[in-house]
């Protein structure tokens, strides 16, 4: 499929999404209202002092805004969001996945090694091809940030499961 055709299809999908964004907000508002009702009564004299009152008002604000947005969406058919091309979207997705991998990497290998690995992967995903340069930068960033935060500012960074098991701190 040609990129222009893909883009057209993508924008078509997103145009539909814009129309339903109001409905999504209404749904969130309804959910908030239901959950707020479960919190109990709304009398200020009750033991819980109407703790559901504030959220329920916000729920109704969301429902109102959702209705207005869905009506606006129907009115203005020309309003279309500019979504990125598929390759760009894939890059964003991979950068995000690498970011998510940061947590298990740090919990397994510790901050120093985990951050270095994820930094390197992200550099590569964002277009850097020189392996040696990635390694040097990853090592510098991990060591410098570790030194500043852990040693100078005494902020406790994760030790990691493997270093703990090996008795390395």
């Amino acid at each position: 499929m040609r990129p222009s055709k893909m883009r057209k299809d993508w924008n078509k999908v997103m145009s539909k999404t814009e129309k339903i964004e109001g409905i999504v907000i209404i749904c969130i508002g309804v959910l908030v209202v239901i959950l707020s009702f479960k919190l109990g009564g709304f009398s200020l004299n009750e033991a819980n002092q109407a703790m559901g009152l504030f959220p329920i008002i916000l729920g109704f604000v969301l429902i109102g805004c959702g209705i207005k947005l869905s009506l606006e969406g129907k009115k203005d058919e020309t309003k279309r969001m500019k979504w990125p091309e598929r390759p760009q979207m894939i890059r964003v997705l991979f950068v995000f996945l690498a970011m998510l991998a940061n947590v298990p990497a740090v919990e397994i290998f510790g901050y120093l090694v985990g951050t270095g690995i994820i930094f390197g992967i992200q550099c590569w995903l964002l277009g850097e091809q020189r392996f040696w340069r990635i390694c040097i930068c990853a090592a510098i960033l991990s060591f410098v940030s570790f030194f500043i935060f852990q040693k100078v500012l005494y902020i406790d960074l994760p030790d990691g499961f493997i270093p703990k098991m090996l008795g390395v701190n």
Binding site: L35, L44, M51, G52, C65, M81, M99, E128, S145, I155
Partner: protein
Amino acid sequence: MSIFEYLLNGFAVALTPNNLLFAFIGSLLGTLVGVLPGLGPTSGMAILLSVTTAVDPTAGIIMLAAIYYGAMYGGSITSILINIPGEAASVVTCLDGYQLAKQGKAGLALSMAAIASFIAGTVGLFGLVFFSPILADFALAFGPPEYFTLMVLSLTMITGLSGASMTKGFVMAAIGLLITAVGQDPMTALPRFNFGTVTLLAGINIVAVVIGVFGISEILENSEEPGMILFQKINKLYPTVKELYCSVGAILRSTVSGFFPGLLPGMTPSVVSFMAYDFERWLSSNRERFGKGAIEGVIAPEGANNAATSAGFIPLFSLGIPTTPPLAILLSGLMIYGLTPGPILFQQRPDFIWAVIASMYIGNAMLLILNLPLVGMWVRFIKIPYPYLAPGILAFCFIGTFSIRNNMFDVWTAFAAGVFGYFMRKLHFPLAPMVLGLVLGPILEQSFRQTMTSSGGSFAICLSRPIAAGFLILTLIVLIVFVLLKRKVTIPDESNS
């Protein structure tokens, strides 16, 4: 004690080596935040908030404030040299700044931007010194109804000014307020929306959400197209006496046009800089020069955004109302230290408040002295390739989030908020109202329920008290004005820039 004596005491505290060092570090980091495209003052301050909590409250807040005004200075460098605004308030500076750079006058544009920023920022601080205590004294008469209506007015103004659609602004403000409802009820401490989990009982961390919504989402958006940057050379750096003399009028006008709007909630430095630029162009006898390299086109937005930055501290310190998202971060920083800004803070902790104000004078002077000779160094920072810059910022987002409460749940929260922020940017939902909602949520709910309790559940109490009624009428006027305005003009969005 008089204001002058308080200020002198403030200088005595601010000039201690420790506080001086943190003002210096804050100014440097702030300039770096302003210089780096893809890292605005809000996300920069949110990421660095955890660093400031590692030191004592005075030094921490001095550093946080320095990061804010440092970012305001720094943003102009990238606008002038590479036509990429480092932060939203410098968008207008690109128009004439980059044109001047292309004409070989990058040095002149940079130096005039720094001088205008310094003068406007310093004059703004005089306003802060004299207006804050007066406003704080006035605010002593405020009860829950006044605070509640004032916060409603602030949220309405910020919502109205932060994007093309007011409805979307209200949605974001409501989401921000709802996030603060998770955890424990502020009045009864009973669990609320925690779905039976212990993790959610402590609530969703505001800083984690802000780092995600501003920092991570910005990185994700920039990852779509990590592009190349073209620089303009810097030749003559310092202006001549004649050039300075000719610019005095523009500097003073930008100070006034930035300071007074900057006092109002929602009048972010980015909005104010647009207004000041338009005002300067309207006053000029030679309007066609604007956009082609007029030095006033650099002075007006830069002076105005720094004056507005200083002015924003007045409602924050004296009323506890943040007028912009970075000031909301500063407010959450104060809350972390257990300090509640407002009239009481001036009475209870004058040493702290006046030290922070005095440090701003010092920080402004530092920035002027440091920025010009260090332009070359800042340019090198911009040259860091994006494949290295983005993962580096993400690593700092990770530390910034993790270190708040030393738990991974906050990191996951930041990631989730990052994805949410990315899609909200794409769908043109403004992010600023959400941050304000996050910060004001607990105070707003508390004052609302106190108001309702004291009146036996009747909202009429807000109409029977003159100040509260005044705020409500203002809210109504603001709403009507924005509804009419939105049909005619598009207001720049601070967060989605």
